[in-house]
Amino acid sequence: LPRVLVCDDEPVLRALVRASLERDYEILEAHDGTAALRLARDRQPDLIVLDMMMPGKSGLDVLAELRTEPRLTRTPVVMLTARAQVADREAAADAGADRYLAKPFSPAELVAAIAELLESRRR
């Protein structure tokens, strides 16, 4: 199964992502940025779902570090954020996010986005 890493400080959101994806993917969970980076390095996920606004390292910080790791540079990243402003979307895109989902998001939307990203990556 493709492996998806979910990083969010809110347990309920990790639970929601897991519930949405667990049938088709292997799910890894990280509760903060540091844990996410460690897991990403160790487990080489196929895709990362990353919350933008977290205490400590923010989603953007994590993304920036990911993009410096040779093996993780091309790993697709879906950003989740409560912020719904264009500036945030741009910041996410600039940092190298592949998709941007504003909270509250629909699980179906997330599933579709992930499937699409993995599909295009496979090709």
């Binding site: 400080d9 809110e10 309920v12 959101l13 519930a19 409560a82 912020r83 909270k103 629909s106």
Partner: protein, 922 residues
């Protein structure tokens, strides 16, 4: 003083103009009068000379005639006939008559014997014929000289007794004197001879004989008048001639005198100076007139100059006053203002600008060019290019009105810079006015708002995402029941979380806006604590509670529901942040009139670097997986607001990894000692702060903070009685800024601030609203005295009128702390009795009461001139209509509805009421 100097100046100008004018007039009169005088002198002298000649020739003419008669044969013949005894008288009489008529002026003619006996006389005077006249001067003169002789004046013995001189000639017969022929010449005639000369020119001539006797007919006397003492006569008799000025009763006259040597007589001529120098008078009149006109013009000129000078001084004084006003207005503005000339150099700057420059740059090097200064200032901003661009645009387009914002890199202070051209009345460009408005606080507030919105958005969206997401997943067809249940539970949990979040947030907003409603009751705190613990026991199956409360009631005036909220929060945190199996200790101890309730947990503790932010909104301890604990992040912020509203304190101590103890302190309602005034000391130097604490702690509760930010925060949360403020503070805010912000904030503006500093700035302190200024080092006594003076008088006499004993007790407990003497009345009638007994300083009045209600009491108070001024705080549970509010508003100082009641508010109102009365009385 200035006016006097103007007058001096005018007087000097007048003198400078008047002196040459006067000299000119004087010399012109003097020179011409000198010339005229010489001329007059000459004329007078000439007149005297002519007079002398005239008299001499007249007299010598007379003598000649007498002499010719003396040689006539008729005279000798008559004498001879007389000798021979023949008739002679007829013949002689004829001769004498002829001689007498030969010239006008001859009074008598007569012939005398050589021994002086009178022979005959014409006109005939028989009484004197034959008498001896040898004593007469004429006789002695002729006999002495043997020649014709003109005598001195005498009064004739002949008919009419004329005043005469005698021209006597010896009559000789062959060399022997046989008789003397005399013609007595009227002196008046001599006078008339010279008078002809004096007819013109007002010159008067006076002739005297050899004895100085006047040869003239003075009207006053029939006798002779001597002029011997006349200086002219005396000089002329001595043979001198000359000119002199005489000062007589009729004025000054110019006079000439000279002798008539052949007669031994004198002639004097004189002319009154007034007449002689009449032309000078005319000249003088003209000169004086012209001079006067010139002097008048000069005077008018001087007056005009003086007036102009004075006007100018007035204008200058007015300008000075205007400048002072302008300066005061400029310096009173919070914005920094500078007027730049066309060359870009500052022409005028207000105090705030100089302050900013000093604060931001210290002192700018003085010898910088304009461009260099601009460059230097630009380097202090976070975007030098933008700053320089604004300046460039101003230079390129002098008419441009520009608004830009700049941030100072070092201090992060933001300024909005507005600049606009300035023109004078004629439209000519004077330069440019630049206004700098500090917007640091606004920007910080905006940032805070943005952050808050982002946080709130995030906090709200998280549970919302859970609700919506799981709801969507619930719709999946192939879910098993267990999963379905789990999803539904999650939805429920998240929805509750969302609800609580909204509630807490709105509560907090309301509290911060000052709208927190707490209704105080006297309660036993133990009950509230027990109930809160009991509430958690069923759910907290993994934790043990240890409750340690005293055996006696802990009575406080508090809102039990709100306090329960606080305890619930602390207990819930203790459960959330401590591992399963931990013991949570809840205890209460009363110390010094206050009670401290603490909640201790053996949990993860709070990292030291995060402790400061613990009470901030949405703050959650950032540690591994704390998010799984849940919570809104608003609980502690709310708890703090609630405790503050009760006039209490909240705090904690914590060691990371070992646990935390949270506590709140509340004043005990009944047994507590009067609350002491609180002094907030703002001092960064620990030694100085410690010293102040030592000075103050005997009389005051002292709280010390080290930075301006903390000072403002503390003062806003719980306004102290007095603030002792150091000026040199570390961090963003200087003491001046703290002072300005405190005075600018309605919550703290009333708190007296004493500036305690080693530096200068008394005037600035006063300008910013400081109550006093102490220069370090100061003595203990000085400090205590200053504080005591600033604190409001304590101990007002307050009458509490309410039919509810609980309310009275509550109010008494609240106000007793303040040192007021409290009296109680259960209704309006009793209140009026108590008021009559002793006039209270303030009244706390309920409206709805039996017997006589509050409205009636207000009416009675209003009706009495003596009682009208008593401030009344209406405390009512009744919801008032607009009309009632108006009615009360007109009579009561303030209105406090019981639903809005808080002890702090009541204390504030009473303090205000007492202060207000003092102000009215003064």
């Amino acid at each position: 003083m200035r006016r006097r100097s103007v007058l001096w100046l005018a007087a000097a100008a007048l003198a400078l103009g008047a002196i040459p004018l006067g000299l000119l007039a004087y010399f012109s009169v003097s020179r011409s009068s000198g010339a005229l005088r010489a001329e007059v002198e000459q004329r007078v002298d000439a007149t005297a000379a002519i007079g002398a000649t005239l008299v001499q020739s007249d007299v010598s003419g007379l003598t000649g005639i007498v002499h010719s008669y003396a040689r006539r044969p008729y005279v000798l013949a008559a004498l001879d006939a007389r000798t021979r005894g023949r008739a002679w008288a007829q013949q002689l009489a004829g001769q004498l008559r002829e001689l007498r008529q030969a010239r006008p002026g001859i009074a008598t003619t007569f012939l005398a014997e050589p021994n002086g006996r009178l022979i005959a006389i014409d006109p005939l005077t028989p009484s004197i014929v034959g008498k001896d006249f040898s004593f007469r001067d004429w006789y002695r003169g002729v006999m002495r000289t043997g020649r014709p002789y003109v005598s001195r004046a005498y009064v004739s013995a002949a008919t009419g007794r004329p005043r005469v001189v005698a021209a006597a000639v010896p009559v000789r017969d062959g060399g022997r004197v046989v008789a003397i022929l005399v013609a007595a010449y009227r002196v008046g005639h001599i006078q008339s001879v010279v008078d002809r000369l004096s007819e013109s020119d007002h010159v008067r001539l006076m002739v005297t004989d050899q004895q100085g006797t006047l040869l003239g007919d003075p009207a006053r006397t029939a006798g002779l008048v001597s002029r011997r003492n006349d200086p002219r006569v005396a000089a002329a008799l001595a043979g001198h001639s000359g000119v002199l000025t005489l000062h007589g009763r009729s004025g000054t006259s110019l006079s000439a005198f000279r002798p008539i040597p052949s007669l031994g007589w004198t002639v004097s001529s004189s002319v009154p100076t007034r007449v002689a120098l009449a032309r000078i008078g005319g000249l003088r009149t003209t000169v004086v007139g012209v001079t006067a006109v010139l002097a008048l013009l000069l005077l008018l000129g001087a007056a005009a100059i003086a007036r102009a000078l004075q006007r100018r001084e007035q204008i200058e004084a007015e300008l000075g006053r205007q400048a002072t006003i302008t300066r005061a207005v400029l310096d009173g503005v919070r914005d920094a203002i500078v007027l730049l000339g066309s060359d870009g150099e500052p022409m005028l700057a207000n105090a705030r600008l100089r302050e900013h420059v000093a604060d931001l740059f210290g002192s700018l090097p003085p010898d910088l060019s304009r461009a260099e200064t601009d460059e230097l200032v630009a380097t202090y901003t976070t975007d030098p290019a933008a700053y320089l661009d604004v300046l460039r645009r101003e230079r390129d387009d002098p008419d441009a009105e520009l608004v830009s914002e700049h941030e100072v890199a070092s201090s992060r202070r933001s300024f909005v810079r507005s600049s606009a051209p300035v023109q004078d009345e004629s439209g000519a460009r004077l330069g440019r006015i630049v206004v700098l408005r500090e917007v640091t606080a606004e920007r910080a507030a905006e940032q805070l708002k943005t952050d808050l919105v982002a946080t709130v958005s995030h906090e709200l969206r998280t549970p919302l995402t859970g609700v919506l997401g799981f709801a969507e997943l619930l719709g999946q067809p192939d879910l098993d029941d267990a999963t379905r249940t789990r999803y539904a539970e999650t939805i429920h949990t998240e929805a509750r979380r969302l609800t609580k979040l909204v509630d807490d947030f709105l509560d907090l907003q309301r509290m911060e806006a000052g709208g927190l409603k707490i209704s105080l009751d006297v309660i036993d705190l133990r009950d509230v604590v027990r109930r809160a613990v009991d509430l958690f026991r069923p759910s907290a199956v993994h934790h043990t509670f240890e409750v340690d409360l005293p055996g006696t009631p802990l009575e406080v005036a508090a809102d039990p529901a709100r306090l329960a909220q606080v305890f619930a929060n602390l207990i819930s945190n203790a459960i959330k942040y401590s591992p399963a199996g931990g013991v949570i200790h809840v205890g209460a101890v009363s110390v010094d009139g206050s009670v401290r309730i603490s909640v201790r947990d053996p949990g993860i503790g709070i990292p030291a670097d995060q402790q400061q932010r613990l009470f901030s909104k949405f703050f959650r301890v950032d540690s591994s997986d704390t998010r799984s604990i849940g919570g809104t992040g608003l609980g502690l912020a709310l708890a703090r607001e609630i405790v503050d509203a009760h006039g209490g304190r909240i705090g904690f101590s914590s060691v990371e990894g070992e646990g935390s103890t949270f506590w709140i302190e509340l004043a005990l309602g009944e047994t507590q000692a009067p609350v002491r005034p609180r002094v907030l000391v703002v001092e960064d130097d620990p030694g100085a702060a410690e010293l102040l604490v030592v000075y103050l702690q005997d009389e005051y509760d002292v709280e010390v903070v080290a930075t301006g930010t903390q000072a403002i925060e503390r003062a806003r949360k719980r306004p102290p009685s007095v603030v002792c403020l150091d000026i040199a503070l570390p961090g963003e805010l200087s003491g001046w800024q703290v002072l300005a912000r405190m005075k600018g904030d309605a919550r703290t503006a009333h708190v007296p601030v004493i500036v305690c500093t080693g530096a200068n700035g008394r005037r600035r302190a006063a300008a910013l609203g400081a109550a006093d200024f102490l220069t370090k080092p100061f003595t203990n006594e000085h400090l205590l005295e200053t504080i005591a003076r600033l604190l409001p008088d304590r101990g007002g006499d307050v009458l509490v009128v309410d039919d509810d004993a609980t309310v009275r007790k509550l109010v008494e407990a609240t106000l007793g702390d303040e040192g007021h003497a409290i009296r109680e009345a259960a209704d309006g009638a009793e209140a009026l009795e108590k008021i009559a007994e002793r006039r209270p300083d303030a009244i706390v009045l309920d409206l709805v009461m039996p017997r006589l209600d509050g409205f009636a009491v207000l009416e009675r108070l209003q009706a009495s001139p003596d009682l009208r001024a008593i401030p009344v705080v209406v405390l009512t549970a009744r919801v008032l209509g607009a009309a009632e509010r108006q009615l009360i508003g007109a009579r009561a100082v303030s209105l406090l509805e019981k639903s809005d009641y808080s002890p702090a508010e009541l204390r504030r109102l009473i303090r205000q009421a007492l202060g207000q009365e003092a102000a009215t009385a003064a």
